[in-house]
């Protein structure tokens, strides 16, 4: 039963080796998805390339449905899997700042690293900016502590917040994703930019 490392009490070095292996799979999947191209990623926000939404929601649904099945068959204890804690104002304001960074830089941190690894110079500069951003956050932390830690709600789940079962929420999410994929296909035809997409 999983999580293996926690329940089997495996030593730290094995967990770190798993981290390296998971990272290799993560970087490989991001690069194969075409996320090493900033113009492909940015296409999401202008409609000419909607790969981002397709990959992102497919991945979330595969992991969500997969983990629920593993839990149902007694193969994974979901109580031992990390659930992100909800700091309301930090999540919203942090998200807005990230969105601005996304459209300016053309990458998010993970896709930036995958682009860097294949030699994109803009991604190397983006990563240098990322390290600078982490440094600035650490240095300004004393002034924004209240914002960062305010309105704390704990590791609350969305199905609890809505008062519905996890299974029903998963069903709604799949339906919403199917609708978005359909809209994405229409958008790619309507906002097609062959001059850009032929190159990427």
């Amino acid at each position: 039963m999983g999580p293996i490392v926690t329940l089997a009490g495996l030593p730290e070095w094995i967990d770190l080796l798993i981290a390296l292996a998971i990272g290799i799979g993560f970087g490989f999947a991001l690069e194969q998805a075409g996320f090493s191209s900033s113009r492909k990623l940015a296409g999401m926000f202008y409609g000419y390339d909607t790969t981002v939404i397709k990959v992102f929601f497919t991945a979330a649904i595969v992991a969500l449905v997969g983990s629920q099945f593993l839990s149902y068959f007694g193969l994974l204890d979901l109580n031992l899997v990390f659930v992100n804690e909800f700091y309301v104002s930090a999540a919203i304001i942090g998200g807005i700042i990230m969105g601005a960074g996304f459209i300016m830089g053309g990458f998010c941190p993970g896709t930036g690293l995958s682009a860097l690894s294949i030699g994109k110079i803009d991604a190397m500069v983006y990563a240098a900016g990322g390290l600078t951003g982490a440094f600035l956050f650490a240095e300004t932390y004393p002034y924004i502590q209240n914002l960062a830690n305010g309105h704390y709600k704990g590791p609350v789940r969305i199905d609890e917040a809505l008062g519905i079962s996890p299974g029903f929420f998963t069903f709604l999410l799949i339906a919403a994703a199917a609708l978005m994929f359909w809209i994405a296909e229409i958008a790619e035809k309507k906002f097609a930019r062959p001059d850009i997409t032929d190159k990427i």
């Binding site: 999983g2 999580p3 770190l16 390296l20 998971i22 990272g23 799979g25 970087g27 490989f28 991001l30 090493s36 900033s38 202008y46 397709k54 992102f56 497919t58 991945a59 595969v62 983990s67 593993l70 899997v81 990390f82 659930v83 992100n84 999540a91 919203i92 304001i93 942090g94 807005i96 700042i97 990230m98 969105g99 601005a100 960074g101 996304f102 300016m104 990458f107 998010c108 941190p109 993970g110 930036g112 690293l113 995958s114 690894s117 294949i118 030699g119 994109k120 983006y126 900016g129 390290l131 951003g133 440094f135 600035l136 650490a138 932390y141 004393p142 709600k153 609350v156 199905d159 929420f169």
Partner: protein, 164 residues
């Protein structure tokens, strides 16, 4: 690769991380540990006196010996392998022909600063907060995801000349 197939592969990697280590994927966290480690090496006194850095050096712990740091090292290796297989290894500045390389790089740097600053505040980026959060039904994950994409759509109009 077909986006739905690539998404399935990404989802299976995330599921494996949950099953093996009980955690999701991340990218910005690894960058943070690199910065913490550099600051500790350059000015240990500053790190020990700071409310932010000091917690990473308690009990003689080494910030680089960390799940997230090894994971992003793996991301670089995995990305490189994929690029090599698909013949995409090339030193290049990717940009719209309408803008200069300098402009592209300036915006890339600024974007990196903002994205990772926001990710530290929200305790995760598109991978750690949005994707991994959604996979465990975390409310924070869904809210962060909507804030990131909503804001990027809102700002897209202002920066359209950089891309289209």
């Amino acid at each position: 690769m077909n986006p739905y197939l690539a998404g399935t592969m990404l989802g299976l990697v995330l599921l494996l991380a949950m099953y093996l280590s009980g955690r999701g994927l991340g990218a910005s966290g690894g960058l943070k540990y690199c910065v913490v480690s550099i600051v500790g090496a350059v000015d240990r006194q500053h790190a020990d006196n700071s409310v932010y850095y000091s917690k990473y050096f308690e009990n003689d712990s080494k910030p680089l010996k960390n799940w997230l740091t090894l994971e992003i090292l793996g991301v670089l290796i995995g990305g490189f392998i994929s690029g090599a297989i698909s013949g995409r290894l090339k030193l290049v500045v990717e940009k719209s022909p309408k803008i200069s390389a300098g402009r592209r790089l300036a915006f890339a740097f600024l974007g990196g600063v903002l994205f990772v600053y926001g990710a530290q505040l929200a305790r995760g980026c598109t991978s750690g907060a949005a994707l991994s959060g959604m996979a465990v039904l975390s409310l924070a994950g869904f809210v962060t995801m909507m804030a990131i994409f909503g804001s990027a759509y809102l700002f897209a109009w202002f920066f359209r000349k950089n891309w289209i």
